[in-house]
Subunit: 109 residues, 2 copies
Amino acid sequence: MELKDCNREVLNDLKFLKGLLAAAASEAGATVLGESFHQFNPHGVSGVVIIAESHLFIHTWPECGYAAVDIFTCGDSVQPEKAAKKLITELGAKSHSILEIQRGILDTA
Amino acid sequence: MELKDCNREVLNDLKFLKGLLAAAASEAGATVLGESFHQFNPHGVSGVVIIAESHLFIHTWPECGYAAVDIFTCGDSVQPEKAAKKLITELGAKSHSILEIQRGILDTA
């Protein structure tokens, strides 16, 4: 997910982003297993929440109002679109694009 | 990156995968900032290495010989293809596919 023209202040707020990713995972019905966040100097945050159903990642460039988000899920119990919607809203993204990729398409030989 | 027909034993070896992801990041010229790994029961590993230039992620399904890998980098100093090559080799992937996606294409208005 590409999030543009976001609220620049929240993009640099590690504490806010940590809570937001956990809340987005929860909203999607995912089970949070772990997390790791890093604040860059002078600005920018990278953070991941590992969920039982894979992961949510965010990298922010506050100076550009831009965030790259990956929502990687597996199974049928999670609703990634709910996490996406929460992130778009809470980051105040005025424009966004979503690319959906199917992973692990295996031959059933 | 989709890695198929891998060595199933190593796909379930958290310790090996932790070392491999760090080594792949290093091979690519990236700076490792943090990591988080999780072993699933009865099998499967999820793991991330956060680098100064973004992240490397792996999710494994040993029972299918399959691993999904994301190599997310920014800037010109990192060579993600070197990390990719190392992962393909060390996991013994007999077949693989790589999809490259440009992120953060911003208007320079």
